[in-house]
Subunit: 376 residues, 4 copies
Amino acid sequence: MSKDKIRIALIGTEFMGRTHSNAWRQVIPFFEPDLEPVLKVVCGRDPEKTKTFARRWGFEDSSTDWRTVIQRDDVDVVDLALPQSMQPEVAIAAAKCGKHVFCEKPMALTGTEAQTMLQEAEAADIRHYVNYNYRRSPAVALAKQIIDEGRIGEIRHWRGAYLQDWLVDPEAPLGWKLKKEYAGFGPHGDLNSHSVDLAHFLVGKIESVYCQKNTFIHQRPLESGSADMGPVDVDDASQMLVKFANGALGSFESSRFATGQRNANQFEIFGSKGALRWNLEDLNRLEFYSNDDPIHIRGYRSILATEAEHPYVGKWWPPGHTIGYEHTFVHAVADFLAAISTGQPISPDFSDGLGVIQVLEAAHTSAESGQRMNVV
Amino acid sequence: MSKDKIRIALIGTEFMGRTHSNAWRQVIPFFEPDLEPVLKVVCGRDPEKTKTFARRWGFEDSSTDWRTVIQRDDVDVVDLALPQSMQPEVAIAAAKCGKHVFCEKPMALTGTEAQTMLQEAEAADIRHYVNYNYRRSPAVALAKQIIDEGRIGEIRHWRGAYLQDWLVDPEAPLGWKLKKEYAGFGPHGDLNSHSVDLAHFLVGKIESVYCQKNTFIHQRPLESGSADMGPVDVDDASQMLVKFANGALGSFESSRFATGQRNANQFEIFGSKGALRWNLEDLNRLEFYSNDDPIHIRGYRSILATEAEHPYVGKWWPPGHTIGYEHTFVHAVADFLAAISTGQPISPDFSDGLGVIQVLEAAHTSAESGQRMNVV
Amino acid sequence: MSKDKIRIALIGTEFMGRTHSNAWRQVIPFFEPDLEPVLKVVCGRDPEKTKTFARRWGFEDSSTDWRTVIQRDDVDVVDLALPQSMQPEVAIAAAKCGKHVFCEKPMALTGTEAQTMLQEAEAADIRHYVNYNYRRSPAVALAKQIIDEGRIGEIRHWRGAYLQDWLVDPEAPLGWKLKKEYAGFGPHGDLNSHSVDLAHFLVGKIESVYCQKNTFIHQRPLESGSADMGPVDVDDASQMLVKFANGALGSFESSRFATGQRNANQFEIFGSKGALRWNLEDLNRLEFYSNDDPIHIRGYRSILATEAEHPYVGKWWPPGHTIGYEHTFVHAVADFLAAISTGQPISPDFSDGLGVIQVLEAAHTSAESGQRMNVV
Amino acid sequence: MSKDKIRIALIGTEFMGRTHSNAWRQVIPFFEPDLEPVLKVVCGRDPEKTKTFARRWGFEDSSTDWRTVIQRDDVDVVDLALPQSMQPEVAIAAAKCGKHVFCEKPMALTGTEAQTMLQEAEAADIRHYVNYNYRRSPAVALAKQIIDEGRIGEIRHWRGAYLQDWLVDPEAPLGWKLKKEYAGFGPHGDLNSHSVDLAHFLVGKIESVYCQKNTFIHQRPLESGSADMGPVDVDDASQMLVKFANGALGSFESSRFATGQRNANQFEIFGSKGALRWNLEDLNRLEFYSNDDPIHIRGYRSILATEAEHPYVGKWWPPGHTIGYEHTFVHAVADFLAAISTGQPISPDFSDGLGVIQVLEAAHTSAESGQRMNVV
């Protein structure tokens, strides 16, 4: 018996275009979704490159005109892998065409745009999702389960950090992620957004925020090796202190100047009964401490989250066989397909994505003013 | 321009059948091999299950008759994912048909069989490969590079261990891996073989060996939950002490009773100038110690092997984005395709696979006799 | 040839009284100081307990009257191990008597008091020292050396945290450390003060600060097991974001509610060429990352700081033999004795101790006002 | 009220002389033993050096004639810190004088000597102790407690290793530890003996053993920097495979050529219900894995053994304040004093010390013959 098919249009052919393509491909044998994705068409700027991308990843067709693509009758899902400056227009248009929207994060440059995206998506009654993919690391999903089981009690502290070091080199060129026009923020948007989403997921709503930022290197080569320089107009590092609605204190730290940290998305959570720790550089492990243990055997447990009993990971390999970064995208796609199939919502959706932007915007205002800000 | 294709027949649809299928699929977009694999046909015992497997993984055809399959004109490569007892017959037949052979490890139950496989493969002038996949973990390949660069000097010690715990439960059923008829040995074959191959790769030839083994639980349920019991006639744990031809001492430890160790394939190497450590449960990391460092800053470096400068891994994602267990199979397939394309040999081949079995056989004789044994 | 002696009066017989007594005893055989300390007299509140303390730790005499003690002709050094509320009066009086002062941290409740202590110590031309003992952990002293050697370049980030969990239990009693009258602050003073001193030592002057605090449990039993409750009027947790004069960003986090963290005084420093990490719970180790390494072998080195080439530790045992918490006090005493002997100043002195309090006070004002504050 | 005193004569003024002296000093304030040790006399070869040692460590008297010392009426305990070749004669003479004997490990060169020592000690009805000090690391004592509580079930595997690297440098001189005449064995005696004692303590009796050894560098300078060379006639590395009486398998590995391992005395124990891990380089921590945990939160716990609930350590500092190498000696001395005070035996005594030597001797015979040997 053949399965129902669902036809995907991918917009964007860079790094995230590749992670999404891989996810649509891999979900089929490993998750055997009720709705089987068909890679219908990919859309990019350059016709030749896009054709090559299509051939490489198995898309049936390619295009350079997203407006046409999102209107195609043979497209059910529009998958956005674009700079955040470009996502709102496409997402809104896709929603108006009644297409389900799978959207990279952050969904937009501003809360106003995100608000509109949400309204249009709700008006169109589509499935909408913002890809804060780390929620679907098995170890992070396990953290959520442990919290929901009451094992760490009432949460007192969130310590989030997302640290990278790719701008330590002053010769690193001025890519789009360093331009306010396309990226809005530096790591404040790119990295803090992940941490804020995880904090929302694991701890709850953030009520108020103080933020400080810095740009360490103000001019960079326009291209690698070029002598022509341009201005960096986003932050190189951004830190926040927050209070959560439930009374917990939180800290966030993001940087592209954290030498030795290649992709260290990490958190610690301290509760009245236990604690949790995680780091993306060791993504299969969750550390868990429990005051329920007798004192003499109390200590952080290093849980290798590769058991059939752990979220998602039983779909892959036997216990002890670890997965990597890319698998979190497959889990997201699997849940998105299930959401379409069942008509149930999926988190994080545009509402959750808007919530992240509202924190980042309040923080940005704080960094400008030196004042603590409430989050709307 | 379309690529040259190469057509794959997979024999075996269990765990290893899945890892191989995934590898043939994933190699295409990530490694863009000159020879592009086509999943032509998969062969299994049960016609319905094999059909389902074919559909799931994208094979064009399925079969229950391996003899027919290996003779097909539209098959170029025979990929064996079978218990070691069954591999020699198929491999030899495939070689005689002139098919290239990609073979799971251990390649055979005995050195005699392996020797024949090697002879036939050489006579047929095919590419032959035994899938000791951990050589192609980026961190392990980096270890090899560091050794070849002379950074740890003359090797004095190899400490290998491959520890699992899935038989700790006395109710774990009597699968084929616990039967001598199919598996030959217990972890002595399944796990020590991986360690021996890594030792051959990184240290060199093993000259003599002493071995002790134990079977802790002698009767197990025939199936999960069954009251019918059958005898375990392989080892539950096996340890070896060896001397290498270059004068180094080595130790090996394998067990399915190492509680808390889910898949801990690990080694330490101590040389006259430095040291290396690795563990499959944290496969993206290699630890490296160097006496070339000034004393006051000497210490094990924890290298996250995810840079473009590291073996294989630049084909996947940017630095800091880790890979998982399954990726080692993709690297193996990529190199195997390149070997076919260029006509160059690939390691480990049937000769290397035979070398591993010779160590295991000598060790087994030692365990039976209580005497140290030379390796042929 | 017998050595010159120097006679010590210890004021305070609690936890810090014990660590100081041990340090004066241990410095003799291990450091063989030019000036050999004599434990002349100890001063406490309760005559019997103080006598017992004297006998236990080898003091010649005991007293309950600190005013008499500091005036004794047979006392050269006054060693203060008191709550910070009580230290200024004794320290100032001791300085006026011309005694050298070894003072626990924080030195006072307020900057005003600390300023007076400094003035009187300078007027009396005595050696004065504030016991931020972690500067003298070999691994921390090594961090300073590595920074001074230029190995991590220009510092961009300081991430300090000092996390404990002894107040997670709501039944933990209301000791003096939870009362503003005696302690001034909660962990903001007790723990952040250590982190600020380390940041001053390793990074440099702090220019401005934002702080948020919280008290999670407002009423506690007056004594262990008592039904009578009293108010907690200090913070349970305090976090700061700072900017350093050299342009680096800093974060500080202190808590007594960090479940699973028993005494986790830790820092990370990211520079333009390298990085450093340390944690008191593993105090013999320093982690160091260097961009001077070739890319393919770059990683955090885990340095076991137990070599003769490392600061202080060669006085103890051969390489690989670790030391503990108490040894940092012995190092402090050794350097203090050397400072007296040579007439050279020692860091941190009252000026450094004042600098810490100025940061804490600015931070406290920030926490009250929600405004960023400059540090005087 | 003054305490009963017990008067100590220390024989030996090298490294172990220092660790013992420190222990006798430190036990007084921290453990407040019922019998308070008095450092009566120390005995060494060189009169001036021994006098200096006495002054430094607080001995009342010094001597170069051990025969006189052990006969002194004002001596109650003879403390041996000598090469193993010299210990039997002194120990036997001391026992005959009715002195209690605290003896460094290994107690003798041969089982025959050790047997005589035991007989004389029993005949004299003295307290006798062999200083396998690591039993009294709090984390190791906790491991014993966890085993005795049944938390890891029936033991299947012991993996012991004691790895050092101080002979990697071919210029390291030919000290007494490299001469068979004084040391008997190389690391086989010095390091394996510690591991065997821990295995006896934690797992039980060893029944049979296979051993292989190697000497990597055969000639070394007679003194540091000298051109005169002498032969190394002990092992540089020694490995053993054993079977325990309870059916467990064991492995041991000792080396002075394990580059990067400064003092890595470590073990792993796997049982039917749980597992334990420890390493002297991180001596305050014990890792514990329990199958009693629900599967989804199962993992190695990293226990910081610094709680009042943990063995010994509550005598030192509050939770989270770590101790070092030297403290294990203080614990040994405290228990030895208690044994004298109560008349109860203490472990490991001469019988236990003999048991260790019997394993080492059987192993040595195995290494010579290439045959597995039973332990008497």
